[in-house]
Point group: D2
Chain length 403, copies 4
């Protein structure tokens, strides 16, 4: 075994950490003020563009992309520690480095399954960071814990498909630069369970596409936005079906693995940030005549937080390493495991940090409450915890019980 | 022992439950729309005035006031179950019935410690529901877990006191009808620990009072608002000192007991609402071929929620009964206990309900996320959990260990 | 509401507490030495007989019996606080006062459902404390979580029934004075679900009854013993069927309610004992230069323990009060709730007390480890937690979801 | 990063797993019967000698020893997975392979700090498995959480030291083959904190050494025994001081690191065994018409168990790897972390497994209750959890808060 980072990874970590210190953290207050002054939760704050330019100039750009023709060409295990670092400032750092979801997943999908036209029209500007994209899968009317529930219809009509249905939690769709959607629906409800779905590329301004509203998360209207979108007789040319009709489930599976690693590592980064804030606050505030940090109950929280972060990080790194060595499918139990473990761990730690901060913790004076809100959704997105536990238990029962 | 409600209480519960069904729950969507359309988080939505008129006409008004010259004249144990019911719709029902914090506590303080002038100028319109009030105690610079930390100065200057300092989490101060503040500060930092503080009555438009900003709670700008307020050379006449100079700590103690009962019972009401929503959702959504409610893990959550609600309610009712029979002081351990137990319990249940609702749970389509955010602050307000545990442990160690 | 004890209850509590101090606690070490010296885990230690004589002479005898012709004639709500007190020394106090399970349940069954002959032959000496009894229901081969699983056959053969089957966890059967068993089995597997079972009275020395072994509980061979018993062609006369053929399930239900109250209140007594020991230990041991009690993490445990005990006690008392006022059936949800809540709460507290005691806590120098082992079985006996949660959830879902 | 096992480790794992299947598991019932029939909890059951002979012949002997002159010469990261496997049958496998605590630690101490005479007289037969040894550090009168509390005196008297004091939890001292003790005490209470202690070699039959009693763990009298030992004027020659006077604390630190890895990996092995038993039981028992494993609450326990085991194992492996690469001191935070995390994790899983097994789970029909009792002591031995959390928190606060 070897728990060390690769040289390439270590070098990028060093540079990225320096970028966080020199540019990202100082920009947080600037960003907050620009957003507040704009009065628009989806405002394209100028500081973001500046950060993007800086990251690009430093070569901290498209780090996520596993193909070195398009990005850094890192393995999952090499990129994961970088995603963690970006997670420490989740609103700014991932976008600054052009590594924010769901654009990353969409760029990978365009790379793997897109036509030359898709690459030219959508992938290129996404890689440049000049446009944004969204991924429309979840629906309000059915439990998204069970992918076979999807109700959006995609009916063939000549050389087009006609889309009808309602999606929500389409993240990024309210971003001022969002131009394109990848949409999951059913082309053939009679096909076998995993061949009913297809994915199609739909410009956000296509006729029949209506962004109904932005969904708040707790009280936050995130800048990127989580949209409810109505699709009414939206006509999509056949050439905008990704990877072929009936391949929707397969593409969804392909994008899930890396996406979960990224989400979980960012969650770990948020937990590290929260632990850092907790330590600083506990050391600088006093009650009953001594720093809060000298109270053993608070010290216990700090210790438990450190232990829990370490364990969740190792499991996530192992899942990334498995993806690199045995592939998505061979790593599926570990990927399910981190999806359950990492957000829950981070939420526990952020909650403790909030408690140590008192009223300041639930306000916007610290990033804690917003991190909490964001991570709380992660226990629901891409299937709730319960679905992933179900997967793990079935595998375990099969292995142990001779089933 | 007798776990039954009194006849008076039972009668009011029946009427209040009917009012919830006929007026409050139906008004929730109306209120949401009026707020959304106004674009102002502190908008005085017309439906609130209608609800207030209706509640008053039905005699469901000032139920909290223990003195029957001013209100219902109920004991704590009789009012508590009514506070629980109002808690099921926490944004509307308490204000509709003129039973919302911190106005209730302020009205009790004016009743007990106010001059005739205070009663005429502030208590009367508060009882009528025509104005609102706020209570300025917590400060941003010091741990409010330790009341002796308060830094606001109240220096005598002839027949006035001059107030300087910064308060925050002054709830209700952004309510459009808020007119008056009760302010806690230090008149004599050299006096004995519990005689340093005084409470004074300050009109919100007094010269030198500046509402700096409203503090968000997990992204929410609550209608009543949680203000940061700057006091710069605010001159307060001696006759606006409540109960005498140096009596601030005593008044704070007097108001805390009933206030905590009310907060905890509303928390229990929110937990009941969440459990109700969880049961309905689990019965009507299906995954993997059966209603979610048929999954034993979800059923366990429901059972554990029921058990936890029952226990927290009984403890809160016992605290209320103790206040009625042996007084605030004799009930102080139980009051500390419910302050720890009830919000934590309600948060657990609401969190489970969110999980069962999927993405809808964190949005504004259900009241769950907002209840969560509100209750999370309750683990910090009036002293964080840790301070109350400290009180309980000291008492317990004294009792058991002969200390 | 009234959370006070009745006068009768208060008077008995005072006397019983005095008896604990004067006789029971001092006898614990004597008992331990007599048992150790005997080398027999089921030894009838002489100190037990002395305690019984003393309790009887003080009128602290058969307190459990609700019928004043046979015992104290207390309501459930009056007896419950006494069961709690006895629970503080669970090995000695209940037997000293002739209030130990399963004898109490068996005495109630004989009172309600026994023939005159049963009362003379078994009930009378049980009430005198000269013999002991056991209750054979649980079976090793099937999940006892589902009572309909019972496999013991009771086949009619003329004026007898012939019993075949294997029981275990038949508590008390290894007590040196155990003379009689009440046995549950199936007289008619074809009858409706709740009419298949019958209960019969079987002398422990009846031909065909073999006590195979005593089951240890976490290494403990309890004095009363938990027996595995083989029934091979045991012939039981028709007159020893209790309450009639097919009435087994009904009797089981009748005995369960009070039994669970008793178990839960004793669990609460054990938790109180553990909290007491924890406070004393924490006050008298030092680490890192101060008493352990001055560490806020330990203080938090103490506070949380106090809160949890209070809540569990109130719920148990409410269940007892409901049994007194609306009967077993009306109280069934609360009885299920306490069965889940009370043992789990007591285990948490005892576990913390063990931690504070260090190595001494897991040894026999303190009663903690034995209490833990005993209470751990309580989460399994009479149906595991999961079965009771299932009951509660079904009720809740029915109430809320219109199901 | 590389999460794979080394070739050497993989090869030994394969052989050890085969040995577990072919010899250890089948021997468990034989051992239980031999112990039961002997009537002596410390009986040297013949099957143990047979297993030892077999393990030795297969080269599965002294795997723990890092020096290949004495054993397998594995790194910590290579041995750890083997310790885990042995932990699955904790009573038999470690001793069968001559890898049981505290003999392993004692052998390492003799190797590093023993004289040639010590090596000949004690190390050689220990390596052969013909004698056993114990380690006397913990004392009943003081909190062992703070090593500076130790009270045993070791007073110089010519070329001897005279030992007086009382030790307990001296594990292995009741093993029929135990011949020698390593004893920790204070040679100079006036020296600096970490130079007061010395360690000495004392034959168990030395004059003045009295084994007072064996301490039960819950109700278990473990075969190796946990002794309370009285030292009265025990004279120890100067040449039996290990590593020099005042070096006791240093030696204690040196042995702790590997010991904790071993304990934690065995704990993980026990957790794996419990999960295996849980899966098998859940698959083969039915309630309410389907296998327990089909209930999603039980499936959740299985999934959570798998997740928790994986995370604890990775953290322990990382600690082992750090010991190999940066040494005991560089690994001390991770070693503190696993000491907290691994036993707590294993206890949770075993507790769930007990619940799934019903009454059988707390009895001796399955190894679960005994594993639980053993692991519960691990949260106390070598310092309770609280001490290790304190270490971690101090380090974390120093790192984050600039303290």
């Amino acid at each position: 075994m070897d728990f060390g980072y690769s040289e390439r990874c270590e070098e990028l970590r060093t540079r990225l950490l320096a970028f966080m210190d020199s540019h990202i953290y100082p920009a947080e207050a600037v960003y907050a003020q620009q957003m507040r002054e704009s009065g628009d939760p989806h405002f394209d704050a100028p500081v973001v563009a500046e950060l993007k330019a800086e990251a690009k100039s430093q070569g901290l750009w498209n780090l996520f992309h596993p193909d070195d023709r398009y990005g850094a060409g890192l393995t999952n295990a090499e990129y994961a520690p970088l995603a963690e670092i970006m997670g420490r400032s989740p609103v700014l750092a991932p976008e600054a480095c052009n590594c924010s979801a769901p654009d990353t997943g969409n760029m990978e999908v365009f790379t793997q399954f897109g036509s030359e036209e898709h690459k030219k029209r959508w992938l290129a500007p996404l890689l440049e960071g000049t446009i944004r994209s969204a991924f429309a899968m979840t629906e309000p009317a059915v439990a998204s814990s069970d992918a076979t529930n999807i109700e959006m219809t995609m009916l063939a009509d000549g050389d087009h498909f006609v889309l009808n249905g309602r999606k929500w939690w389409t993240s990024n769709a309210l971003h001022p630069n969002c131009r394109v959607l990848i949409v999951m629906g059913k082309t053939d409800p009679e096909a076998s369970t995993h061949s009913q779905q297809s994915m199609m590329v739909v410009p956000i301004d296509a006729p029949g596409v209506t962004v109904v509203r932005g969904l708040p998360v707790f009280g936050y209207q995130d800048r990127e936005g989580h949209a409810e979108i109505l699709f009414e007789d939206v006509r999509v040319p056949r050439e905008d079906v990704l990877a072929g009709v009936g391949k929707g489930f397969m593409i969804a599976q392909a994008r899930l693995g890396p996406g979960r690693i990224h989400h979980c590592m960012r969650a770990i980064g948020m937990a590290e940030r929260a632990l850092d804030l907790m330590c600083v606050r506990a050391s600088t505030r006093s009650a009953f005549g001594k720093p809060i940090a000298a109270q053993s109950n608070i010290a216990d929280w700090i210790a438990e937080s450190r232990i829990d972060i370490e364990m969740a990080r190792l499991l996530t790194m192992k899942a990334a390493w498995l993806m690199d060595t045995v592939g998505n499918k061979g790593a599926r139990i570990e990927i399910a495991a981190i999806k359950v473990a990492a957000p829950a761990m981070a939420l526990r730690i952020i909650d403790r940090a909030i408690q140590v901060h008192g009223g300041a913790g639930v306000s916007d004076d610290f990033p804690l409450a917003q991190m909490y809100a964001h991570l709380r959704t992660l226990r629901l997105a891409d299937g709730p915890d319960e679905v992933h536990k179900r997967t793990i238990a079935r595998y375990e029962l099969g292995a142990h019980a001779g089933g």
